[in-house]
């Protein structure tokens, strides 16, 4: 494995870890099963790509991608967050598909199924990010800032209130919490960071098409949250790295040891994901992360 290849995988893993943490804010903290997170990822990617293609620098396109995705988060939240449980999941799933289909058919803006090509690489003044190492440094910094901000938000009284709403909406309401507003805010913040991740994705791959953002993408992000543990930020990051890194590693094993045709590899990847999720649900339903609360509880019982 060459160093550049490893770095490219790490870059994708960084992007997905931002996605996973942001989705955890919605699923883990606010308790809302969002199956359309890839839509915000897509909106961010297309926004940033289109902006830079008309000459706007990456430094401006990146936050703009986040903001536009966040506005769509508000839109989805305002229209669907009165729904609960399965109904909400279906609404978010529908939203994800709508966004993808619009991107696919709005030929004038997105070039439809052809996708956007030659997306400029990030550049700052004279310096253009080119090598996987450059990308890694840049994306590592963006990811760290994102984690820091999200962690800070989650550990603040705001995060505590979200958890309270997740655990018991009625009790939270009786304590004067505007439940709906908190949910919408959570989705707004999560969508912002998914948009940021989308922008990062567009500029490292430099080619995006609507099918980069299918329901499958949303599922993979949900899998990361589930594997990492709900409301566990560190767990989400680890799970993102494992789920992105593992199939890459697996690819080599497959090529060397098992005579599968290359065409079957994508299928095998999903197979392994499936097994991992089933395994996690059976043996580690709380996720892999260290959970303070479980420890606290068992101490209390002892």
């Amino acid at each position: 494995m060459s160093g550049d290849y490893l770095l490219s995988v790490l870059n994708i893993a960084l992007i997905y870890s931002i996605l996973a943490v942001s989705l955890n804010l919605v699923i883990g903290f606010a308790g809302l099963l969002n199956l359309g997170h890839a839509a915000f990822f897509a909106i961010g990617a297309y926004t940033s790509a289109l902006l830079t293609l008309v000459g706007i620098p990456f430094g401006i396109a990146l936050p703009f991608a986040g903001i536009l995705a966040a506005l769509f988060g508000l839109l989805l939240g305002a229209t669907s967050l009165k729904l609960r449980g399965d109904y909400l999941a279906l609404a978010t799933l529908g939203f994800g598909e709508i966004v993808r289909i619009v991107l696919k058919n709005w030929d004038g803006l997105t070039r439809g199924a052809l996708g956007l090509v030659h997306i400029p690489r990030p550049s700052f003044l004279q310096f253009t990010v080119k090598s996987p190492f450059d990308y890694f440094i840049l994306y590592f910094i963006i990811a760290l800032v994102s984690f820091f901000v999200m962690k800070k938000i989650c550990n603040s009284p705001f995060g505590r209130t979200l958890k309270a709403i997740r655990d018991d909406e009625i009790a939270a309401t009786s304590l004067g919490k505007n439940v709906f507003r908190y949910k919408v805010t959570a989705l707004f913040i999560a969508a912002f960071f998914a948009g940021i991740a989308g922008s990062m994705f567009a500029h490292v791959i430099t080619y995006i098409e609507p099918n980069s953002f299918t329901f499958l993408e949303s599922t993979i992000i949900v899998a990361m949250v589930v594997l990492g543990g709900v409301a566990n930020i560190k767990g989400s990051v680890i799970a993102a790295f494992v789920l992105i890194g593992f199939p890459e590693l697996f690819k080599f094993v497959v090529q060397v040891w098992i005579p599968f045709p290359a065409s079957a590899q994508a299928g095998i990847k999903m197979l392994v994901y499936g097994l991992l999720i089933i395994g996690a649900m059976l043996y580690q339903p709380e996720g892999w992360g260290i959970r303070k609360l479980v420890r606290k509880k068992s101490e209390g019982n002892a």
Binding site: P157, T161, I170, G300
Partner: protein, 255 residues
């Protein structure tokens, strides 16, 4: 302080509350009693905004609150507990109380105002400790709420409601299912609160408890108030006796 006028609420064909009116005076303890299914909890849910009445009006401090959603009524100073305990069992006792504080910095952007946030959390912790000591749970501050005994959870839920600095404290069966010692303690706490000027409205089945602390009793039967008065008046009221024991079921006063 609280005035309920001609409240009516049906669920499908069942009328849970029909034409119920009463008033709660500031600084007093009012009990809402009645046989099972009389509509007591429904009245509570309507007053706190968890249900919408079909007819009737609710005034809180002379202000009509019919259109206000639940959380806004809470913000006006109506705090409540629930018949089935609704704590956040996985959170600590302190976290449960901090969640109730009316004065918090809990918008997402507050997360970055380190010093202001720390200051208000410290202040709120003090308030929480005061109420925890009041109900006698200060030693449990870092315990997960779900690990407390049933009676302690009842106390914690009352403490949590008190942390909202309410004007009106509404308790749905605060003494249900607790042991006699705890029952006595809860009675004393409520009396102490009244002495501090708190207005309390509570639902309870334990008559001794009710008669011991209530200034005024409202008796509901089939969703209608059939008697309102002081404990001694209620004890003698024939309609109340009939409602509880069935018509003609009283041991005395056979006509």
């Amino acid at each position: 302080m609280l005035s309920v006028n001609h409240l009516k609420k049906s669920f499908g064909g069942i009328t849970a509350v029909k034409n119920c009116s009463f008033e709660v005076q500031g600084g007093s303890i009012t009990a809402l009693i009645g046989p099972n299914g009389a509509g007591k909890t429904t009245v509570f849910n309507i007053v706190t905004g968890f249900m919408r009445q079909d007819h009737g009006e609710i005034f809180f401090n002379n202000k009509n609150i019919d259109e206000l959603p639940s959380h806004k009524r809470a913000a006006l100073g109506i705090a409540r507990t629930f018949q089935t305990i609704r704590l956040f069992p996985k959170m600590t006792v302190l976290e449960n109380l901090l969640l109730a504080m009316p004065n918090t910095k809990e918008q997402w952007y507050h997360a970055f105002q380190n010093s202001a946030l720390k200051k208000i959390e410290e202040e709120n912790k003090k308030v929480a400790l005061t109420w925890l000591s009041f109900v006698g749970l200060h030693a449990k501050i870092d315990e997960a709420a779900g690990n407390l005994s049933y009676g302690q959870q009842k106390l914690l839920e009352i403490a949590r409601a008190l942390c909202r600095s309410p004007k009106l404290l509404m308790l749905d069966e605060p003494a249900a299912g607790v042991n006699p010692a705890m029952l006595k303690k809860i009675g004393e706490l409520l009396t102490k609160l009244k002495q501090q000027g708190m207005t309390i409205l509570f639902i309870e089945h334990d008559m001794e408890f009710v008669m011991g602390i209530a200034d005024k009793i409202i008796v509901l039967d089939y969703g209608e108030e059939i008697a309102i008065g002081k404990p001694v008046e209620i004890q003698k009221n024939q309609r109340v006796i009939d409602a509880y024991l069935g018509v003609g079921g009283g041991l005395e006063n056979h006509d």
